[in-house]
Amino acid sequence: MKSEEERKEQYCGNCSYHNVYEYPSKIFCTYRLVKRLDPVVSTLWCCENWTPEEEECFCVEDAKKQAEST
């Protein structure tokens, strides 16, 4: 069972299938593309295939800042 703190960090922007689509708020999920689902999702959304691999991106940070400011 993941703690609430850990869950908060499970952004699709952290998954290993993501690329930027509209920086920083939208990402392109190749996993969803292959599954014929809409591949463009929010960076702060949690992908069903989220993996705990750390991606050192600024996009999640910037998306969080943008979300807080709106």
Binding site: N19, V20, Y23, F28, V34, E56, F58, C59
Partner: protein, 334 residues
């Protein structure tokens, strides 16, 4: 050879004046005739000869990131003005053309930058050009869509790489696009190493979405007889090589296979011959293979192509004038 035969033509010094045109400057370079100035002036003369030779098919070889660096419209204009007949390119240059046709951009950047910060910001670097990741991704998204469409249209039949280029160009609306101009004018763009770039990533995504028998099939061997036939049907063949690599040898090897040899050759490169790599190999070395004729009009310009090539084109366009008209080659059509 006697001593006097080595001392026939003195160097004339370059004279500059305000408001000089590009071709006037090149004429002054020819007066010097030395070092890069002499080579650049000779390259202009050779390209002019190619264009005025009514039996010459002109091949442009593209390697190195010249499309993202600013040569995109130069190449498109050359296609539309029929100043080149055939392009042999890296896949990557066509990828960058496609990115711009999709509304993406290449940005002026800097070579002295922390690349790990770029990585974290999802920005790719090509020397001093920055490309946002999303522009690549939006191109990939379109490629996946187009690959499925094209595969459906061709069913199980394979495409040559120039057919793939035309199919992509057909789906673009940007008149400044190289791919679009090639499609409209039926100028072949051969991409012998098409998978050595983003095409490969897009194909991988495409292949994960459809059954193996439904994937796009591109066959770069299929076009070999067609390419050789262009050489065979041409009275003379001239090549302009930017960079070198696979595109250069694709053209040169076709010349050998067609038993023709190349009559005119301009190579713009900064590479050196000592590695044995093709991009730096001298034109003399090329003669040993029978790829370029011994008596060909030929020159290698040592310089960076984004700087050098527009000067050559501008100088030659000025010489030819606006009313110059050239029919596509080889005669009888591609």
């Amino acid at each position: 050879m006697q001593r006097k035969d080595f001392l026939t033509e003195p160097v004339k010094h370059i004279k500059l004046k305000p408001g000089m045109t590009v071709n006037e400057l090149i004429s002054q370079y020819r007066m010097s005739g030395c070092f890069g100035a002499g080579r650049l002036a000779t390259a202009c003369d050779i390209y002019e000869k190619m264009l005025r030779d009514n039996g010459c098919t002109i091949y442009l070889g593209l390697a190195g990131a010249v499309v993202p660096a600013g040569l995109r419209t130069v190449i498109t204009d050359l296609i539309r003005k029929r100043m080149i007949d055939v392009i042999v390119s890296t896949g990557a240059n066509m990828i960058h053309d496609f990115i711009e046709a999709m509304g993406g951009h290449h940005y002026k950047g800097h070579w002295f930058v922390d690349d790990y910060i770029l990585y974290k910001y999802h920005i790719y670097r090509i020397y001093d050009i920055f490309v946002p990741e999303e522009d690549f991704i939006k191109a990939d998204e379109k490629f996946v869509q187009f690959f499925e469409e094209i595969a459906r249209e061709y069913r199980n039949r394979s495409l040559a790489t120039y057919e793939l280029a035309w199919e992509l160009g057909k789906r673009l609306n940007d008149p400044n696009s190289v791919l679009r101009a090639a499609y409209e004018t039926k100028t072949p763009i051969f991409m012998p190493a098409a998978r050595d770039c983003e095409f490969s990533y897009a194909f991988y995504l495409h292949s994960q979405r459809v059954k193996p028998e439904e994937t796009l099939k591109v066959d770069s061997f299929k076009e070999v007889p067609f390419f050789i036939d262009i050489f065979r049907r041409s009275e003379r063949n001239g090549m302009i090589i930017i960079g070198g690599g696979v595109p250069r040898n694709t053209i040169q090897h076709a010349a050998v296979t067609a038993r023709k040899g190349i009559d005119y050759a301009i190579i713009i490169t900064m590479d050196r011959p000592e590695t044995g790599g093709l991009s730096g190999s001298t034109l003399e070395e090329t003669i040993s293979w029978g790829k370029v004729k011994r008596k060909a009009n030929k020159i290698m310009v040592t310089g960076e192509a984004v700087m050098v090539f527009p000067i050559i084109v501008a100088s030659v366009m000025e010489r030819l004038g606006e009313n110059f008209h050239r029919e596509p080659h080889p005669k009888g059509g591609i």
